[in-house]
Amino acid sequence: MQSKETRRVIASICALAVMALQGAPSQAHDKAQERGILAQVAPDRIEIMLTYYRPAGDHVDLLKARYDLNKNGKIDRNEANLAGQVWLKPALSGLQFEVVGESPRARAPEIKFRDEDDGGLSMAALVRYDLSKLPTDKKRTFRVRLEPDAAATSVHLQSVEGLKLVQVGKRALEKPREHSGPYTLESTSPLTATFGYIGETEKNLD
């Protein structure tokens, strides 16, 4: 466990989005696309589940033609990992995740696809970022930004393992919660959420 002094350091802001790490340019706004984020904050990590949908059309057909290796009409299992490398770029386009004071370490994303009833195709990606363990007397701030012209995005926030959401934006919540949302992300203002231990002690957390 890190010392309290270390944990007290107000650290730099770190860009977490895979897209940002890869430095790819953002894509033009596409109304037909839909995406959502579920960000779950824990004392030692943050996990982000990103869902991304594209309607039936050339994009979907091309992806299936390339990666449906066993020709069962679906992109599943290891096919999803391959196809996911293609779709992660547009799926993350224009998104930036930050944790104040941390340099998170991303693990390889887990990716799934599913066929929608309307012929469209959806992808879900789960990414875990390891963080230093949050001291019980500290708070953790998570921020997600959207670049101009990026696809619309809804955001759910939740916390686990003793953390509770205490503030969203400039507004402190009336009562600390473990879940909040959805919020519609706008490029003009990032969504900032702060989490902390409420009613917990160091002893019973350990």
Binding site: Q22, M49, L69, E79, A106, E178
Partner: protein, 1304 residues
């Protein structure tokens, strides 16, 4: 509860008008009422005259009676449990005082229909050590009886779990034992004392029940045990941090009482199912929130249960927030910031968890987080206190010194904890209310206890046809008006947004009058009466201080009058099935959404289970009613009129079916019935199926003697006669019943006979039928005996010793042996592929859970001197109940086809392909992680080449594996294979078990403990033989009459004549012992080999035999095909084409080795309506336990990987074997086939194991042999994936991600 004042009033109401009624209620109590002497007393029962008596009475001399001027209850003695539970000390009988009524010579004059009640501390119950009359009531105060003891296991599999939750014993050493694959110790010192006080005040109509848990250890105890719970939390990945331990009561109001819960009325099964459908987060638990648990019966006795809401020195809200489980949890917020129970919990809310077989479970309170030790209480110093407890006369022996030391060492910390405010005990209080038959009488008493302001409501039920007062026993249902609408004309209506809230129920008394108390408010009522359409809602308002009279109207019924004759024109017992056609209506609930109303107490109308077609009324048929005709051949009964439905486009009618089992043709007559009309139906039944020399017998039947049946013996026998059954073996649970007096009294001797038997019912170690058996008129249970903690071999021997013929002339039948916790084979871990018996925690692949969750105790194993354990499983039964009721799912081992296995094996092969490359999923994750992080920043960084190599290998392996899975599934073809889980068959079936036992020598003959118990050398020699020919049987296990299809399946037993009443017990025993039995739910099938009948043995040296197959069935039954099974494999099969109810064929079959042959016969068409489909899903104990287990991560099931439980019933029959000795040695040698096992792969190409009886091929696909079994690579009962996010619910993102895609 109606006071005597009210009863007197009711008795006189018939002669006076409504105005006088209202005036009379204002009159003062009579002098007699005021002067009535009240009392309460408690005593040990010393004579039968003190017993309560009644249909479910179990009280016996030596038990404890508490009674006052209104009610009487009996607490059973410390000895073994005579109800359904494990331990003595529970409350088993309860009734009103019934002065001046005639009673039973052998017991009292009461109408007890109570089951059993005892407190549950989480799932731990009291193992009583002492029962004390604390106050006998002679002082004019409340009579009090206290039962004290240690923690006991209701289900031994939960022993360690309970220790963790309740600290009944120290769990720590048992965790250590579990790590060494040993079951929990059984000889530990208790850490807590559990007790319950039954307190009866004079003049009360309720028993106050105070349950107590007290810390008797030397240390502070946490509830639950935090250190172990933290381990569990980590292991299970669930948050138990805020878990509080609930406590409550197991409530058995008896099968004769219909349970009622406000909000869901009488529909407990689906009311609870709806609750379970919505997951709830820990630390809350799922269940129905209710202020009372009540019941009703028309026998003038009902029961209720409610929580105490008094408070001393604080408000009830303060106390409830600390102690009442539901209210306390509702003060806490779930992950979404919402109260766990919606925020509207009341202080008197209880959590009703399950209901099965007349028993329910309710959690009322929660234990405090910790209890201090109690030994240091008082003002004495340490030395004085400890020596008083553990020195001198108080305690003698070596262990006392250790306790004395512990006492002295712990004294200061003990005092510190107590003075610090941690209590040493926790007491929770509830009430058992005894009513006069309806739910309102329960409410009346609860209002009185709580001082609730109520207003008396008087009513009179009128007949809708004549306008005249109805009689007694009409039901009026009371509802709270809808609160979501304000318009008066909508408050008592139903729509998609809401409906009135069912609150209570009252029966009309003589001349239709009734009375009840209600708090002021707006209510609705409606009427329900047998044979009538449910009444419309009627709104009424109760105002404080204003008398009120209501006049509910009962809709007039229709009536059907039936006459049944045989071919000679003589009256004949029969079954009448009234079949209707319902309109096409879409409902998410299916027919129960529109065809009947379970909440109001209407019975289920079973449908044909054909998908409804709006254009075809023949797809929308249902059974409106079932009635049995007695020996007179005639009856008249009420039925809902259908004439009114002429208003709709489709014409409504009933088809009235007259049937008498599978040997008779069916007569059908179509009728239309208007309200108030009586329609006459007559039919002459023709017996078309010849069963000469065989009598049909049901060897497993329940009635009044069974705590989960209570069925009147007369109705039991009439229903069986109506189904054409000829021999009825009475097998009540732990109660010896004799049907013969009722056969004679109902003049059924021309058609049937009976045999005295018993179903010895253990709680979790198997159910065993024994017949014939001695009937002991002086015993409360007429000759049953203690089974708790007895090894099965001892139980079998005790049963044999009680045979009136001889120990050798008795039949022991293992009932439904694979029925989960009720199954002998399941609970004793009999291998479903090779008949091995291995204790789960001693199996080669045993894990921690095998030691933790295995059934344990002396009923299951003996600990040997070397520290190992030996199973007590006994093979010395005679018959296996292969076919139980309509439970086709228990007939064969569950098998799955490739479409079900596709996703399972795709995952499986992915893992395998990675293994081939020396990789696993973690390697792939690590490699890809490195590429995405370190190597992304610096492609030349150390280790990146290796990571790239591994990642490429992973990708290739995964792709190959997926394609291989496809290929292998193609190879599987259309065959179905047995599904295994953890090396065992996931859902075993009896027929496959029986075939395995016919195929193999037993792994052992007699255990040492059996050898000592069986004195008879001849019998022992017989038991020692390793090959045993078990007889297969099939029985209905019926607990009810109508809608239960008693007698299906049945056994045709060879007795050599056709006169049931002439059959002797010995003839039945010989027929079963000699395997001369055909098991069927319809067709009659015969098999002869070289002229030898079923059960016989043939010797041949010709290498082949002549097999004659014969099938007989009535014209209404579809029989399509036969299969001839030799040594477990199908050796011949073909079509059956009945001509004039008979089909016969002779074939030649090769017998290169000793072979046993069994004939299977089946059809495809449903036998609706003569045999109703199995449409009502079971609500069994597993569901109940599952309701608790679900939040802990257990339960659920993988879609498609478990057997269907609801289906139409189709014809199926099989014979017992004929054994063919073909090797010339004169002795049948079982094939002892290569031991089958669960394999991990799909492809199994082999030839060497193929039997010569099965045409061998160059290679075979898995699934082509009976015991081909496949291990699925994940638990078939893994937690059900979260399919969608619901409002207000939070789930871990990992769970959401895993579930994503499954729901689509």
């Amino acid at each position: 509860m109606k006071s005597p004042k009210k009863r007197n009033l009711l008795a006189s109401l018939g002669a006076i008008g409504a105005a006088i009624i209202l005036a009379a209620t204002l009159a003062p109590a009579s002098c007699g009422e005021a002067d009535r002497m009240t009392y309460s007393r408690a005593q040990r029962i010393t004579s039968t005259a003190q017993l309560i008596g009644g249909p479910s009475a179990r009280g016996e001399i030596g038990d404890y009676l508490i009674e006052n001027d209104h009610v009487r209850v009996i607490v059973q003695d410390l000895n073994y449990n005579r109800g359904s539970g494990i331990f003595g000390g529970s409350l088993i009988d309860a009734d009103l005082v019934r002065l001046g009524q005639e009673g039973d010579l052998l017991s009292g004059n009461g109408r007890d229909s109570f089951g059993e009640m005892f407190p549950a501390f989480f799932l731990e119950v009291i193992d009583p050590e002492e029962i004390e009359i604390v106050n006998d009531g002679k002082d004019g105060k409340a009579a009090v009886i206290e039962v004290r003891g240690r923690g006991g296991e209701f289900v031994t599999m939960l022993r360690l779990f309970n220790q963790v939750m309740v600290n009944s014993y120290n769990a720590q050493p048992n965790i250590q034992r579990a790590l060494q694959n040993k079951p929990p110790r059984l000889d530990q010192e208790p850490q807590v004392e559990l007790s319950v006080r039954y307190i009866l005040e004079p003049d009360a109509r309720h028993v106050r029940v105070e349950s107590r848990i007290r810390n008797i250890s030397f240390k502070k105890l946490e509830f639950p045990n935090k250190s172990i719970v933290n381990l569990l939390s980590t292991a299970l990945g669930i948050d138990l941090g805020n878990f509080t331990v609930p406590a409550g009561q197991v409530l058995g109001f008896g099968k004769l009482n219909s349970p009622f819960l406000p909000g869901i009325g009488y529909d407990l099964q689906f009311g609870l199912q709806d609750v379970y459908a919505n997951p709830i987060d820990l630390p809350a638990l799922p269940g129905h929130r209710t202020p009372i648990v009540a019941s009703s019966s028309k026998d003038g006795i009902s029961y209720g249960y409610a929580i105490d809401i008094s408070a001393d020195g604080e408000t009830i809200e303060e106390r409830a927030a600390r102690e009442h489980f539901v209210y306390a949890k509702d003060q806490e917020m779930n992950a979404s910031g919402e109260p766990f129970y919606g925020g509207d919990a009341a202080v008197d809310d209880m959590l009703f968890l399950f209901y099965a077989s007349g028993f329910g479970g309710v959690f009322t309170h929660q234990l405090p987080g910790a209890l201090s030790p109690s030994f240091c209480e008082g003002d004495q110093d340490a030395q004085t206190t400890c020596e008083a407890l553990y020195a001198g006369a108080a305690c003698e022996g070596e262990e006392c010194q250790g306790k004395l030391d512990s006492c002295l060492n712990s004294f200061d910390s003990c005092r510190e904890q107590i003075t610090g405010g941690t209590p040493s005990e926790f007491v929770f209080t509830s009430y058992l209310v005894i009513g006069d038959g309806d739910v309102s009488s329960i409410w009346d008493e609860i209002y009185r206890i709580r001082g609730t302001t109520t207003q008396e409501v008087l009513g009179r039920v009128l007949d809708g046809m004549s306008g005249q007062p109805a009689g007694a026993g009409e039901t009026v249902l009371l509802y709270k008006a809808r609160a979501d609408v304000t318009a008066a004309n909508q408050q008592c209506t139903e729509d998609e947004q809401g409906k009135p809230y069912i609150h209570s129920q009252v029966f009309s008394q003589e001349a239709g009058y009734f009375t009840l108390d209600l708090p002021p408010g707006i209510y609705c009522y409606r009427t329900r009466s047998g044979g009538s359409v449910l009444g419309d809602y009627v709104r009424f308002e109760v105002k404080a201080g204003e008398n009120l009279m209501i006049e509910p109207v009962v809709n007039p019924p229709g009536r059907i009058s039936v006459k049944v004759l045989d071919e000679a024109g003589q009256p004949l017992p029969a079954k009448i099935t009234v079949v209707g056609t319902h309109p096409y209506q879409e409902s998410p609930k299916g027919p129960r959404g529109f065809l009947f109303d379970l909440a109001s107490g209407e019975h289920w109308r079973i449908t044909d289970m054909i998908p409804d077609d709006p254009a075809d009324p023949a797809t929308r048929r249902y059974i409106e009613d079932v009635v049995y005709v007695d020996a007179s051949g005639s009856t008249t009964f009420e039925v809902r009129p259908n004439f009114l439905d002429r208003e709709v486009e489709e014409e409504r009618f009933y088809d009235v079916y007259i049937s008498r089992g599978p040997e008779y043709e069916v007569v059908v007559q179509r009728v239309q019935i208007a309200p108030g009309e009586t329609v006459r139906v007559a039919g002459r039944l023709v017996r078309s199926v010849d069963t000469t020399d065989y009598l049909s017998a049901d060897l497993h039947l329940h009635a009044r003697g069974s705590i989960d049946s209570g069925l009147d013996y007369n109705r039991r026998l009439i229903s069986l006669a109506g189904e054409g059954l000829e021999i009825a073996v009475a097998t009540d649970h732990n109660y010896v019943s004799d049907f013969k007096p009722y056969v004679i009294a109902n003049e059924l001797t021309p058609w049937m006979n009976s045999v005295i038997g018993l179903e010895l019912t253990t709680f979790e170690a198997g159910h065993f039928n024994a017949f014939p058996i001695e009937y002991d008129v002086e015993s409360a249970n007429r000759g049953s005996f203690q089974w708790q903690n007895q090894a099965p071999g001892l139980i079998f021997e005790e049963l044999r010793q009680r045979s009136p013929l001889s120990p050798s002339d008795s039949i022991i039948q293992a009932n439904h042996p694979r029925d989960s916790i009720l199954g002998y084979f399941s609970q004793h871990n009999v291998n479903a592929l090779n008949t091995d018996v291995v204790l789960p925690f001693q199996a080669e692949d045993a894990g921690l859970t095998d030691a933790v969750a295995a059934a344990n105790g002396p009923a299951f194993y003996t600990e040997l001197e070397d520290g190992t354990f030996e199973s007590t499983f006994s093979w010395n039964f005679d018959a296996i109940e292969v076919f139980n009721g309509k439970r086709f799912e228990l007939l064969r081992h569950f098998r799955a086809r490739k479409e079900i296995l596709l996703p399972v094996y795709t995952e499986y092969y992915t893992t395998e392909k990675l293994d081939e490359r020396g990789l696993d999923v973690d390697d792939c994750v690590a490699a890809r992680e490195k590429l995405d992080t370190d190597c992304a920043a610096d492609p030349m960084a150390n280790g990146c080449d290796d990571a790239r190599g591994d990642a490429d290998e992973c990708t290739v392996a995964e792709t190959e594996a997926e394609l291989d899975a496809e290929k292998h599934l193609e190879a599987l073809g259309e065959e179905a294979v047995i599904v295994c889980e953890g090396g065992d068959v996931a859902f075993p079936g009896h027929l496959d078990d029986w075939y395995n036992m016919l195929n193999n020598d037993r792994p052992f003959g007699v255990r040492e403990y059996e050898r000592q118990a069986v004195g008879d050398a001849d019998r022992l020699a017989e038991y020692e033989k390793l090959y045993k020919r078990y007889t297969a049987t099939g029985n209905s296990d019926s607990h009810r009459a109508e809608f239960d299809d008693p007698g299906y399946p049945r056994n045709y037993v060879y007795v050599g004549h056709d006169i049931p009443f002439n059959m002797t017990d010995k003839e039945l025993v010989d027929g079963v012992k000699n395997h001369q039995v055909v098991v069927t739910n319809g067709p009659f099938a015969l098999l002869t080999i070289d002229d030898t009948p079923i059960g016989g043995e043939v010797s041949t040296s010709a290498g082949k035999v002549s097999v004659t197959i014969e099938v007989r069935a009535p014209s209404w039954m579809d029989v399509t095909r036969y299969r001839l099974v030799g040594n477990g494999e199908v050796v011949a099969s073909g079509e059956v084409t009945l001509s004039d109810t008979t089909w016969k064929e002779t074939i030649e079959v090769n017998v290169p080795r000793d072979t046993w042959f069994v004939l299977e016969v089946e059809g495809d068409a449903s036998m609706f309506p003569v045999l109703a489909p199995n449409e009502i899903p079971p609500f069994d104990l597993e569901t109940a336990i599952g309701s608790l287990a679900g939040p802990f991560g257990f339960g659920g099931g993988a879609e498609g990987l478990k057997p269907e439980l609801t289906f139409p019933v189709t014809p199926f029959a099989f014979t017992n074997p004929i054994w063919v000795v073909a090797d010339g040695d004169g002795t049948f040698s079982p094939p002892n086939t290569p031991q089958a096992q669960c394999i991990d792969t799909v492809l199994e190409l082999d030839g060497d194991a193929a039997s010569a009886l099965v045409a061998p091929g160059p290679a075979r696909k898995l699934g082509s042999r009976r015991n081909d079994a496949i291990e699925v690579p994940f638990p078939v009962t893994h937690p059900k994936p979260v399919t969608s996010r619901i409002k207000g619910e939070m789930r871990d993102v990992r769970v959401i991600f895993e579930a994503w895609g499954h729901s689509h």
